[in-house]
Amino acid sequence: MIFLLHFLLNHEDLFRILPECLLTLTGVLVMLLDATLPPGWARRPLGWVAAFGTTLALWGSLFQLSLPEGTGFYGTVETSAFTVFFHVLICGIVLVALLLSLDTLPEKSHHQGEFYALIVFSAVGMCLLTGAVELLLVFIALEISSIATYILAGYRKHTVRGPEAAIKYFLLGSFATAFLLYGIAMIFGATGTTQIYEIARLVPAAQNHSFILVGLGLMLVGILFKVSAAPFHVWTPDVYEGSPTPVVALMSTAPKAAAFALLLRVVYEMLPTLRSVWQPLLWVVAVLSMTVGNLAALRQQNVKRMLAYSAIAHAGYLLAAFAGLESSGIAAASFYTAAYAAMNVGIFAVVTLVSGYDEKLPLINDYRGLIYRSPLLGSLLIFFLISLIGIPFTGGFFGKFYSFAAAVGGGAIWLAIIGLLNSGLAAAYYLRLVLVAAQRPDLDGEAKSAPLQGAPRVGAAVIAALAMVVIATLVLGIMPNDVLHAAESGAHTLQIPPDEISTPVIVVEPQQQP
C-alpha cells in the first residue's frame, strides 16, 4: 500500500488519468473474476463490483478538481473543469446503465461478466476521449470505447437483429473512424503536430490551408457519425433496435457526450480561427438532423426506433448551441448533453422494464393503458416523455432553452425558430406515446388490460437507477444553477490554453444594455 502511494506520488501524471485507471482496474478485475469463478456460480455480483468501481471513478474525477489544471503525459491528457464535467457525466451514465443491467439481464445469460467488463472498458475510452488533447490519443480513446460498444450491441447473439446491429455498427463505425484518422493525418500534414494547442497556435500561420480544411471536414464526418447527426445517422435506428435496451440507454448517451466533448474541443479549442467554415456546416447539420429525425420518428411504430430518431433530432438541437459564441455555446452544449443524458437514460430504463430483456412488447401500441397496468412505470414514462418534449421544470426544457438561447445570442435566429418548430413537431410523436400509455385499456378487450407479462423484477438496483435519473431530470429543470456553473467553468477552461489559466472564473451571460 505504502509502495503504491509512493509510486503515485512520484508519478503525478497518474492523477491526470485517475478515473481511467480506476475504471481499467475494475474492468480487469471483473474479467479475471469472471474467468476464475467456478462455472456454476452466479455472475451477478460482478455487476456490483463494476458499479462500485464506477462509483470510485466518479469520485476520482471529482477529486481531479483539486488538481491544478494542466496536462500530463507529455501534454497528451488534460484535466480541467471541462474534462471533470464530462467524466462525472459519463461515469454517472455508466453507473445507471450497470444498475439497470443488474436487474434486467436474465439470471443465466452467458458471459454476464464480460458484459459488465465491456461496459466499464467503454467508459475508459469515453473518459479518455474527453481528456485527450492529442489527436492520436483521441483516436485511440475513440477506438477503445467503440470496440467495446460494437460487442455490446451484438450481445443478444441468438436473435436475428442482434448480430445485424453489431455488424452494421461495426462496419459503418469503422468507416467513420477511418475518416477521423484521415482528417488527423491531413491536419498533421499541414501543421506538423498532433497536439491540439500546438495546432491551434500554428493554424493561423499555416501554409497549406486547404489541407486543414479537408482535415477539418473529414474529422467532422467521423465525429458527427458518433453523435448520430444527419446525414450520418442511418445506422442509429437499426442498431438501437437490435441492441439490448440497457446498452442502448448507455450508447445513446455516453458515447454521444464524449463525442460532443471532442467536437467542442476540435472546433472551439483547436480551430477557433476557422469559425466561418465550421459554423455554417454545423448549422446545416443541425437543421438536417432535427428535421430528418423528427419527420422519420413521426412514422415509427416501434418504440426503440422512434426513440432512435428522436435521438437524432436531439443531436440537432444540441448542435444548435454551436451557432453560439464561445461564452454561451460551449456551456449550453455541455448542459444539453447532461440534460439529454438524464432523460434519455430514463426513458430507455422504462422501456427496458416494460418490454423486458427479450422485448416482447416492442410496438407503440403495446404500451396501451400502461398507466393502468403499472402506474409507476406509466407515470415515469410520461414524465421522461414530457422532459423530452421540453416542458418547463424538467431538464429537457433548460437544455433546449440554453441551446437555442446560445443560437439566438450568436445571431442564428432562424436556427432557433426552426429548432423550436421542430420541437413542436417532436411533441406530436412523444405525445402519441403518452396518449397511448394513458388510454383506457378496456377499449381493446380483457387481454390487453392484464398486468404486464414477463416484466423484469424491479429490484433495488433498478430503483436506485430510476431514482438517480428522475432526480437528475428534476434538478436540471428546477435548480440548474450548479450544473450550469460547472458547464460554464468547463467552457472557460476550454477557451484558454492551459498555460494561461489562472483560477477558473465563472462566465456570466453578457448583460449589455441597448
Binding site: I371, Y372, I382, I386, I389, I391, P392, F393, F397, F401, F404, A405, V408, G409, I413, A416, I417, L420, L421, S423, G424, L425, A427, A428, L431, R432, V434, L435, V436, A438, Q439, R440, P480, N481, L484, H485, E488, V507, V508, E509, P510, Q511, Q512, Q513, P514
Partner: protein, 503 residues
C-alpha cells in the same frame, strides 16, 4: 399581516401543488381524492380573496411582489406580483376551481387520484401565468398548463379523447415556439427577462423596428391561438366536446386574453397599434361566425364552443379597440364570462351525466321534471346573452361603447349583431332542452334534480351574476387601476399621443 402579504403569492402557488402531492399519496377510498381536492381548492380560493382585501387601489404598479433570483445565467428571477389587471382574474381562477371539483364529483368515477392530481397541478400553472412578471417564469407556467390539460382530455375524454388532446396540444404548443424565440431575442438585446424593465427598455431603446414588429407578432400569435381568435380556433370545438366539464370551464379565454393585455399591448404598445385594425376585423368576424355556427349545432358542447368563440371575440374586440373603456369592459367581461360559463358548464355536465348524450334534439320538456336545473339554466343563459342587471351586460356594454366611440360605428354595429344572435341560439337551446313535449329520453329516467353540493355552488354563482350586473363599481375601480394608465404604467414610456385615450 405584512409577513403574509410578502409571501401570499408563493403560498397560493404552492397550496394546489401540495394538494396534488397529498392526493397522489392518499388512498383512493371514500372519495378521499375528491375531498382533498375540494378542501385544497376552497383554501386556495380563500387565499386568493386575501389579495383584493389587502390590495391598495391608490398605489400604482404591482403589489404583493416577490422577486428572488432563481437562475443566475441567464438572469431568471422568480418575480411575481399582481395589479388591478390580474387581481380579479386570479380570484376568478380560485373561484372556478372548487366549482370544477364539484362538477367532477360524480362525473369522474375511475382514476380519481390521477384526475385530481393533474387538476390541481393545472391550477398552479394557471395561477402562475397570472402572477409571473418574469418572461421566462411566465413561459414556464404557460407551457406547464398544457400538459395536465392534454393528459386529462386524453384520459377522461368522452369518445375521441386522445385525438382531441393531440389537436389541443399541438395547436397551443407550436405557437409557443416563436414566442420563446421572441423572448430569447429580447433577452439578447436587453439582458433582461423582467417585465417592467423590458417595458421601459422597449419604449426607450433603439431596437431595429422590423425585428421588434416580428417579436410582437410572435407574442400575439401565441396568445391568439390560445384565446382563440378567428381563424385560429380549430382546436376549440373538439376540446369542448371532449374535455371533462371541470377543464372546459378553464380552457378557453382567460390566459390568452390576459396575456394579450399584459404582454402584447403592455410590452409593445406601438406594434399593437399597428396590428390592432386587423384584430378588430378578425374579432368581429369571429363574433358573427361563432354565433352563426352556434345556431346550427346539434351537440350542446359544440354549441357552447362556438358561443365561447363568439363571446371571446367580443372581448378581443374590446382589447384591440385600444380604448380605456374597452379594456375595462374586456377585463370585466372575462370575469363575468368565467362565472356564467362555469354555471352553464356545470348544469350541462349534470344533464350529460344523467342522460349520457349531448345531442340537443334528444332532450325536451325537462323543465317540469327538473325545475331547479331549468331555473338556474335560464338565469345563466340570460346572463350569457347580456340581459341588463346581469353580469355580462356591463362588460358587453362597455366594450361596445368603447368600440363605438373609439374605433368605428360600423364595427360596433356589426358586433352588436352578434349579441342579438347570442340571444337567438341561447334561448333556442333553452327551449329545446327544457320546454316543448317531453322526449323519450326525459321519460326514460326518474326525475333527479340538483343535489345539495351542486346547489351550494349554483346559488352563490347566480347571486354573483346578479351582483356583477347591478354593482359593477365593486370591481371596476380596481380594474381601472390596472388598465388606466393603459395596461401597466405605460405613461412612463409612451406619450399620450401614441396611445389615444378615449373615454
Amino acid at each position: 399581516m405584512n409577513q403574509i402579504n410578502q409571501s401570499i403569492l408563493t403560498l397560493i402557488l404552492l397550496l394546489p401543488l401540495a394538494g396534488a402531492v397529498l392526493v397522489a399519496l392518499a388512498p383512493d377510498r371514500f372519495k378521499l381524492p375528491n375531498w382533498i381536492a375540494l378542501v385544497t381548492t376552497l383554501l386556495t380560493f380563500g387565499l386568493t380573496l386575501h389579495l383584493p382585501a389587502h390590495f391598495n387601489p391608490t398605489q400604482p404598479g404591482f403589489q404583493f411582489v416577490i422577486d428572488i433570483p432563481w437562475i443566475q445565467s441567464p438572469a431568471i428571477h422568480y418575480h411575481v406580483g399582481v395589479d388591478g389587471l390580474s387581481l380579479w382574474l386570479v380570484v376568478l381562477v380560485g373561484l372556478l376551481a372548487p366549482i370544477g371539483v364539484v362538477a367532477s364529483w360524480n362525473a369522474i368515477r375511475e382514476r380519481r387520484k390521477l384526475f385530481f392530481t393533474l387538476f390541481l397541478i393545472q391550477q398552479t400553472a394557471m395561477l402562475g401565468v397570472f402572477f409571473s412578471l418574469d418572461l421566462m417564469v411566465y413561459y414556464g407556467f404557460w407551457e406547464l398548463s398544457l400538459v395536465p390539460m392534454a393528459i386529462l382530455i386524453a384520459m377522461y375524454g368522452r369518445k375521441n379523447g386522445p385525438k382531441a388532446a393531440l389537436k389541443f396540444f399541438l395547436f397551443t404548443f407550436i405557437p409557443s415556439a416563436p414566442l420563446l424565440v421572441a423572448i430569447l431575442w429580447l433577452y439578447t438585446q436587453t439582458g433582461s427577462f423582467d417585465f417592467t424593465t423590458l417595458q421601459i427598455l422597449i419604449a426607450h431603446g433603439n431596437f431595429p423596428t422590423g425585428a421588434l414588429f416580428w417579436t410582437a407578432l410572435a407574442f400575439l400569435f401565441a396568445f391568439a391561438v390560445k384565446v382563440p381568435v378567428f381563424p385560429l380556433h380549430g382546436w376549440l370545438a373538439d376540446t369542448f366536446s371532449e374535455a371533462p366539464v371541470a377543464l372546459a370551464m378553464v380552457v378557453a379565454g382567460k390566459l390568452g386574453l390576459y396575456s394579450m393585455l399584459r404582454f402584447h399591448i403592455g410590452l409593445f404598445p406601438e406594434q399593437a397599434r399597428a396590428v390592432a385594425p386587423v384584430l378588430v376585423g378578425l374579432a368581429v368576424v369571429g363574433i358573427l361566425y361563432g354565433a352563426c355556427l352556434a345556431l346550427v349545432q346539434r351537440d350542446f358542447w359544440r354549441l357552447m364552443a362556438f358561443a365561447a368563440l363568439s363571446h371571446l371575440s367580443l372581448i378581443t374586440l374590446g382589447i384591440y379597440g385600444l380604448t380605456l373603456t374597452g379594456w375595462e369592459g374586456a377585463v370585466y367581461q372575462i370575469l363575468s364570462h368565467g362565472v356564467v360559463d362555469g354555471a352553464l358548464f356545470l348544469l350541462l355536465g349534470v344533464l350529460y351525466d344523467r342522460y349520457a348524450t349531448s345531442q340537443i334534439n334528444a332532450y325536451g320538456g325537462l323543465a317540469a321534471k327538473l325545475p331547479r336545473t331549468a331555473t338556474f339554466f335560464v338565469i345563466a343563459s340570460l346572463a350569457m346573452i347580456g340581459l341588463p342587471m346581469l353580469g355580462s351586460f356591463v362588460g358587453e356594454f362597455l366594450i361596445l361603447v368603447g368600440t363605438f366611440t373609439g374605433v368605428s360605428k360600423g364595427w360596433a354595429i356589426a358586433a352588436s349583431l352578434g349579441v342579438i344572435l347570442s340571444a337567438a341560439y341561447m334561448l333556442w337551446l333553452v327551449q329545446r332542452l327544457f320546454f316543448g313535449p317531453e322526449s323519450a329520453l326525459a321519460i326514460s329516467k326518474p326525475p333527479d334534480d340538483l343535489r345539495l353540493g351542486q346547489l351550494a355552488v349554483l346559488w352563490p354563482l347566480t347571486a354573483l351574476m346578479l351582483v356583477m350586473g347591478v354593482a359593477p363599481m365593486l370591481w371596476l375601480p380596481t380594474i381601472a387601476t390596472g388598465t388606466h394608465p393603459p395596461p401597466m404604467h405605460v405613461q412612463t414610456i409612451t406619450t399620450p399621443s401614441q396611445v389615444e385615450v378615449q373615454r
